[in-house]
């Protein structure tokens, strides 16, 4: 059981896809302006990584080695399109799917998905692969939410669309920071998160 716990915890902390493996940076800059979008993106990626890893692990002994990347890609795109179709079908998620525009479709190109299949799912049993995939997605999602929290709070003064910075503060001269809305700030924030993460975990520090 200890090994299973390891499989789950590692992608969240020591092997975090964004802060340690530095994968999936592009989308983490793009979809973190608002918490709502970031949350949907995080859930979508978690589902895609989890299910793709599971399916690829189930198929791992049958996949012809020469075309394994293509087969993985087909499985991943199947999952991504399914997620996209379901988001489009429900009234509550339709608007979010529209605001995330191309980024849901671009989960296909997210290195985390293919990376975890290549590195883990093809060499492990289905259940651990599912756990690893889900945990990788959550590790990615956690960083996304942290970044989105600061960007929405400082950039729009809201959280999940609700105004949290009181009107009085604006009257006193406080203004929302325009830079925070722009992608470069997400990169700065990510840098800070990586910095904090590495200073807390001595094992990650390079000599």
């Amino acid at each position: 059981m200890g090994k299973m716990k390891d499989t789950f915890v590692t992608p969240l902390l020591k092997g975090n896809p964004i802060t340690v493996l530095v994968l999936g940076i592009c989308s983490s800059l793009a979809v973190t302006v608002e918490l709502k979008g970031a949350l949907v993106m995080a859930l979508s990626v978690t589902i895609v990584t989890g299910l793709s890893s599971l399916v690829c692990s189930l198929l791992r002994n049958t996949i012809p080695n020469r075309v394994r990347i293509i087969i993985q890609l087909v499985v991943v795109s199947l999952m991504v399109i399914l997620v996209d179709q379901f988001l489009k079908a429900f009234e509550s998620t339709y608007a979010i799917d529209k605001s995330l525009s191309v980024y849901i479709g671009l989960i296909i190109t997210n290195c985390i998905v293919m990376g975890r299949i290549e590195a883990f799912a093809l060499g492990n049993k289905p259940f651990p692969s599912l756990v690893d995939g889900l945990a990788s997605g959550m590790g990615y999602g956690a960083i996304l939410l942290i970044v989105a929290f600061f960007r929405e709070l400082l950039g729009s003064g809201t959280l999940f669309g609700y105004q949290v910075i009181p009107e009085a503060l604006y009257n006193a001269g406080y203004v929302n920071n325009g830079l925070v809305i722009l992608p470069p700030f997400a990169l700065i924030l990510l840098g800070c998160i990586i910095w904090v993460h590495r200073s807390l975990d001595k094992e990650l520090q390079e000599k």
């Binding site: 793009a30 002994n61 012809p64 080695n65 020469r66 075309v67 079908a89 608007a95």
Partner: protein
């Protein structure tokens, strides 16, 4: 079994791909009606936003059915016209029937090829008239709705959408309220060579029928400009007739007013 043989590889990939295609086709068919309902509500909300009945966010807040209901309550007539401004059909207002994006695409094809067109004109009870535009952006289609006042000339609002323009650049046609806000108060000048322009580098000072293009999104701006002008071309006669009618009514009202004044003075 030798999983590296050619036969195995070919058979394996074929089965996987066919299986995936079948799953996708099945899901798409099952979810299709729900997606279509969402898309319809989205289109209606875009028309209502262009007509100035509320922000885009407002319609998302009140939900699909309330949006459609609001549309049905406020629409006066929604007719289909051809290139000669002759009415060729009707849309069902009680069902909030509107032209979908794919229908606009089909009509855009007809406009480009000069074949028979059948395009919608949405007239609201407050006299605002909305018509759609459709064309090609940089990465995919761009479309939108332009609302004109009852003189069929003055723009009161506009809303644009796109399929895959770059977020932050071309995507601004939808996301940047400042871009849309430029349209209000401008006029469609049918006597000019180009009835409406989106000008790269900024519209000339005081130009009544031009707005600024989006910096860094030249291709999207150009595409939208072409879309607007080709659809204005298609609606040309409809707009002209509307203008003539509104001028006639205006003249009539003035005549009645001066007549009553004269009677009163006597």
């Amino acid at each position: 079994m030798n999983t590296n043989s050619n036969t195995y590889t070919v058979i394996y990939t074929t089965i996987v791909v066919v299986l995936v295609a079948a799953i996708l086709a099945f899901v798409s068919q099952k979810l299709g009606p729900m997606q279509a309902a969402n898309e319809k509500a989205e289109t209606v909300s875009q028309i209502l936003t262009a007509a100035g009945f509320g922000d885009k966010e407002h319609w998302a807040e009140i939900g699909n059915s309330a949006t459609l209901e609001f549309y049905s309550d406020n629409i006066e007539s929604s007719i289909l016209v051809d290139i000669n401004a002759d009415q060729t059909g009707n849309l069902d207002n009680t069902q909030a029937q509107v032209y979908s994006t794919s229908q606009l695409k089909a009509q855009n094809y007809n406009i480009k090829n000069g074949t028979d067109i059948q395009v919608p004109v949405y007239q609201f009870k407050n006299k605002v008239v909305v018509f759609p535009v459709y064309g090609a952006g940089l990465w995919g289609p761009v479309w939108g709705y332009i609302a004109v006042a009852d003189d069929f000339k003055t723009i009161v609002g506009a809303y644009f959408d796109h399929e895959g323009e770059t977020p932050g650049l071309g995507g601004k046609i939808k996301d940047d309220p400042a871009f849309r806000a430029q349209f209000a108060g401008k006029v469609i000048d049918l006597s000019a060579e180009k009835p409406f322009s989106i000008v790269r580098g900024g519209a000339p000072e005081g130009a009544a029928n031009a707005v600024d293009a989006i910096t860094g999104a030249t291709m999207t701006s150009k595409g939208l400009d072409a879309a607007i002008n080709s659809w204005i071309g298609a609606y040309g006669k409809t707009l002209l007739q509307g203008q003539a009618a509104s001028e006639f009514i205006k003249a009539l009202e003035e005549a009645i007013q001066s007549e009553t004044k004269a009677v009163e003075e006597e």
